[in-house]
């Protein structure tokens, strides 16, 4: 059964609990360990260190993975390989635009996105997937090419940690950068609030699909964006453009909700049309739902 079961220490996955931890590495570790501890009877068990095959040692391999028992018996050096480390790379596209700085509760969308990105990176590294990162707004602000080298994960995590809300959003820029550097197949996780037209998303994601990438879109939204509660008329200022609009509570309770729901639905359809997965994430909810979505995606594409 896909459910993680009641044994997951969910309080460890709550965004506001994670916000109390200072170190992103520690956050990622806590989330993943807590998540996997609760999943030891789940169908995802095979993604841990499961033996796959031996291959001859070649120059450049890490000597720690040499099976010395085989060497004692056969006098040949073999590397022991596992299922999880044979597959692919994961590139995380983290949106650090100004709108990601919005948050009505303890954490902003960007903070939540950073937790999610770090957690995905850690999870992937644990399975010996190569992990890459692109932090972007209107431009690419950080780019780490995928690698499974020891210490690379720390660099990725530091790059995630440094991300701060920037300016506007342009999804085409990171995707073009990705296509420019990454030619092989792999996994692409895009973490953003996707305040863009579905057609623009489609135009950006579709080339990735053509390239053979498996794309998962994590759309992070705050409850105040999904179901805003205004007590009186207010002047709302766009965090990216600075434009102000005076809105009424009636509008925010009815018409706005219809529009944002339609937008999410359109994005989902566009993602499906481009062969990508779409996952809507409420940033006040624990991270396990997003992780489970990723693992399902990973299993499906693995």
């Amino acid at each position: 059964m896909p459910a993680a079961g009641p044994t997951i220490p969910r309080h460890l996955l709550q965004p506001e609990v994670l916000a109390g931890l200072a170190n992103l590495d520690l956050i990622a570790r806590a989330v993943v360990e807590g998540f996997l501890t609760g999943m030891h009877r789940s169908p995802f068990f095979g993604f841990s260190q499961e033996f796959a095959e031996y291959r001859a040692y070649s120059e450049g391999d890490d000597p720690r993975f040499v099976d010395w028992n085989v060497y004692a018996r056969t006098d040949r050096t073999y590397i022991k390989r596992y299922v999880g480390e044979t597959n692919t790379h994961l590139v995380i596209l983290l949106d650090a635009s100004a709108s990601m700085g919005f948050g009505s509760k303890a954490v902003t969308k960007l903070t939540y996105g950073k937790y999610l990105a770090a957690t995905l990176a850690y999870l992937a590294a644990r399975q010996h997937d190569a992990v890459g990162l692109i932090v972007f707004d209107q431009d690419v602000r950080e780019h780490r090419r995928p690698s499974s080298r020891p210490g690379h994960l720390q660099g990725v995590l530091h790059a995630i940690d440094r991300a701060e809300p920037g300016t506007g959003t342009d999804l085409k820029v990171p995707i073009e950068r990705f296509r420019e550097f990454e030619k092989g197949r792999g996994l692409v996780a895009v973490i953003s609030d996707f305040y863009c037209e579905p057609e623009a998303l489609l135009a950006g994601v579709r080339p990735l699909a053509y390239q053979g990438q498996d794309v998962v879109l994590f759309q992070l939204l705050d409850p105040e964006e999904l179901k805003p509660e205004l007590k009186e008329s207010a002047l709302l200022q766009d965090m990216e453009s600075g434009e102000t609009v005076e809105v009424s509570p009636i509008f925010m309770r009815s018409r706005y909700r219809e529009k944002i729901d339609a937008h999410v639905e359109s994005l989902k359809k566009a993602a499906i049309g481009a062969g990508a997965d779409h996952s809507l994430v409420d940033i006040t909810q624990p991270l396990d739902a997003a992780l489970r979505s990723y693992l399902l995606f990973r299993q499906r594409r693995g």
Binding site: D238, M239, S248, P249
Partner: protein, 663 residues
């Protein structure tokens, strides 16, 4: 239009507050950051415009509320001519019924009521009438009304009192009552127009300019005799009465004297017209305590209230006084003792003792102590005297030669000046300043005739009150309150060693005043005027009770028992402080003379109250005091409340719009 309190216009500064808040609110709308305006739509322009207009209306209402409140405090008023309020030709007829004691004579009161009733009957339908009773105070019996029945009922309810009425005081009191009248006033004074009621200055009878005065004199030629005075001595019981015939024919009356309800003596008097006849009674044997003595004329005449006169006599109890002459001058208190023996009214019982024998005396038994030379007393005696005074005793102490040998005055502790015994037998000093308002020295200006050859020069302390001092400023007599008692310190001798005061005629009254003062104001008056008040605390009866002539316990004015108004004729009984005192309150003899003012005077009086033609015609000059301002404050306050209600309603509406609720 006028403003009664224009200074409150300063309150308009408060208008700045809502203006400032409005500006603040306009500059700082409810603005917040939002992730994206991609799906936002601006509110309907109509709704936004409505909100702005509502807010401007709200602001205007708030400012209006503040301005109206300020205006209410400023008290705007409209000048309004008097006739504007009452319609054409309407007048206010103020009927003043003289309710003084003389109105009870014969059938004067019935005639006064009839006259008042006739006045009411003659009023025009649009006129208003008001009834006022004039006795000791001016009592508004009814308010101005068009209801004649109310006024007639008021006339029937008023009764003559026991007090005297002065017409001058009455007119001044009526000035205050009529000041706010909005109609032309006709003042009807129904009175017996007693001569004794006229003020010293005739001009005091003039009413206000705009008032028409009509005096309805109802006097007749009643016969009346009255006991004008009844005086007696409590020491020997001798009594003298003075009876006057106010009528114009000879009367024969019997004068009866009663003591405590028992007839003691009767005399027959022949009273010629206008004559004052004095007669003495045999000495009364007075019982212990207060004696109620009443003199009564029979048969009764048209004014029986003044046929009775009362006096309360109380035989004084002997009051022991201790005299301590200086040991070197054994005659130091001789003159004092002799003076006290002549003061029979105070019934002082003097006991002389030496300083050495002072220890054998129970000081608490004496009303007060006289020490001729404090310096002659030893430390033990001084200590006993000090203790006696502090516990409530009184001491008259003189300073002699033995005193000046000490560094400071015993008991009171004042310092002696260098060369304390000043003066010589050749040169003398006289009294310079003298507080004749002090109870001990009242009316003793002749003390200045005394010559002082020597005195002890002392420096008065801050708590001393200097009653007498010499021309050179040195104090002669001081008063010091010590504990619960008091000390009178005389800085010269009480005999004629240092001065010639004891041989001056004023010496006996001087000693009498001092004794009276040290006895605690023993000059208790057993007769009080009708309408006066008894100050119980001043008489040492603060914790006592007072009963009126009917035997009812009386509370003081203002709910306390400090001051009691004596408004009944008879004996008031004061119980308290371990003793009973009786105060006789007699009829005011000014009311006994029933003669009325002559017709010419009456005509002149009425002439003082002719209304000016201008006012009678209803064309009041602007700004004159006859034109009363009509305050608009209540109307402005009403408008402020209305604006406040609208502000609440609009404010609520505004909030509904801000919250996006349906309007």
């Amino acid at each position: 239009m006028t403003l009664l309190a224009p200074l409150f216009f300063a309150g308009l500064l408060a208008v700045a507050l809502p203006l400032w808040l409005h500006r603040l609110s306009a500059e700082n709308p409810n603005k917040r950051l939002f992730s994206s305006s991609m799906f936002l739509e601006a509110g309907e322009p109509r709704r936004v415009l409505a909100k702005k207009l509502q807010y401007l209306l709200l602001l205007a209402l708030r400012i209006a509320v503040l301005m109206l409140l300020v205006l209410a405090f400023v008290q705007p008023a409209l000048w309004r001519p008097p006739q504007a309020a009452g319609g054409d030709g309407a007048e206010l007829h103020v009927i003043v019924l003289d309710s003084s004691a003389s109105m009870a004579a014969g059938n004067r009161w019935d005639r006064a009521r009839n006259a008042a009733t006739d006045i009411v009957a003659d009023l025009a339908p649009e006129d208003r009438a008001q009834l006022i009773a004039a006795g000791r105070v001016t009592e508004l019996v009814t308010a101005p009304t068009v209801d004649r029945a109310v006024v007639r009922q008021g006339i029937a309810s008023v009764e003559p009192g026991v007090f005297h009425l002065n017409f001058g005081q009455l007119m001044r009191a009526l000035d205050g009552v009529l000041r706010g009248a909005e109609l032309p006033v006709v003042l009807h004074l129904v009175t017996d127009a007693q001569q004794t009621g006229l003020p010293t200055r005739f001009a005091e009878l003039a009413p206000r300019d705009s008032v028409e005065l009509q005096v309805h004199a109802i006097s007749a030629s009643e016969s009346n005799a009255a006991i004008e005075s009844l005086a007696g001595s409590a020491l020997d019981g001798e009594l003298t009465a003075a009876v006057r015939n106010f009528g114009d024919r000879t009367l024969e009356k019997t004068l009866r004297l009663e003591r405590n309800g028992e007839v003691v003596e009767e005399k027959t008097l022949e009273l010629p017209p206008g004559a004052l006849v004095q007669t003495s009674f045999d000495a009364l044997t007075l019982a212990a305590g207060p004696n109620r003595v009443r003199a009564m004329l029979t048969p009764a005449d048209d004014l029986p209230q003044d046929d009775v006169r009362m006096v309360a006599l109380k035989r004084p109890e002997p009051r022991p006084v201790l005299l301590i002459p200086g040991d070197l001058r054994a005659q130091g208190t001789l003159f004092v003792e002799t003076a006290m023996e002549t003061l029979e009214a105070l019934a002082l019982d003097t006991v002389t003792t030496t300083a050495a024998d002072l220890g054998d005396q129970m000081l608490e038994e004496y009303e007060f102590v006289v020490a001729a030379d404090l310096g002659a007393l030893g430390a033990g005696e001084i200590e006993r005297l000090t203790s006696y005074v502090e516990s409530g005793g009184a001491l008259l102490a003189a300073l002699g030669p033995r005193s000046t040998a000490q560094s400071e005055v015993p008991i009171t502790g004042q310092l002696f000046e260098p060369g304390a015994a000043a003066g010589s037998s050749d040169a003398y000093v006289s009294i310079g300043t003298l507080d004749v308002s002090h109870p001990a020295l009242r009316g003793l200006d002749t003390l200045r005739a005394a010559k002082f050859f020597r005195y002890a020069a002392i420096v008065p302390a801050a708590q001393d009150y200097v009653l007498m001092s010499f021309e050179n400023g040195a104090p002669l007599m001081l008063e010091r309150n010590l504990g619960n008692g008091r000390v009178l310190l005389f800085t010269s001798s009480l005999d004629k060693e240092w001065n010639d005061l004891p041989v001056q005629p004023v010496f006996v009254p001087f000693i009498a005043g001092i004794a009276n003062h040290l006895l605690g104001g023993a000059g208790f008056s057993n007769e009080a005027a009708l309408g006066s008040t008894l100050a119980l605390r001043a008489m040492g009866l603060a914790g006592g009770q007072i009963f009126d002539p009917n035997g009812n316990a009386v509370l003081g004015l203002g709910g306390g028992t400090d001051d009691v108004l004596l408004d009944r004729i008879g004996f008031y009984e004061l119980v308290g402080g371990g003793s009973t005192e009786v105060v006789a309150v007699n009829f005011d003899t000014r009311e006994s003379d029933l003669r009325a003012v002559d017709a010419a005077t009456l005509e002149r009086w009425q002439g003082l109250g002719q209304r000016s033609e201008t006012v009678a015609a209803g064309a009041a000059p602007a700004g004159s005091e006859e034109v009363a301002p009509a305050p608009l404050g209540y109307w402005v306050l009403f408008l402020a409340l209305l604006a406040l209600g609208m502000e609440s309603w609009v404010g609520n509406w505004h909030l509904r719009i801000r919250r996006g609720l349906s309007a």
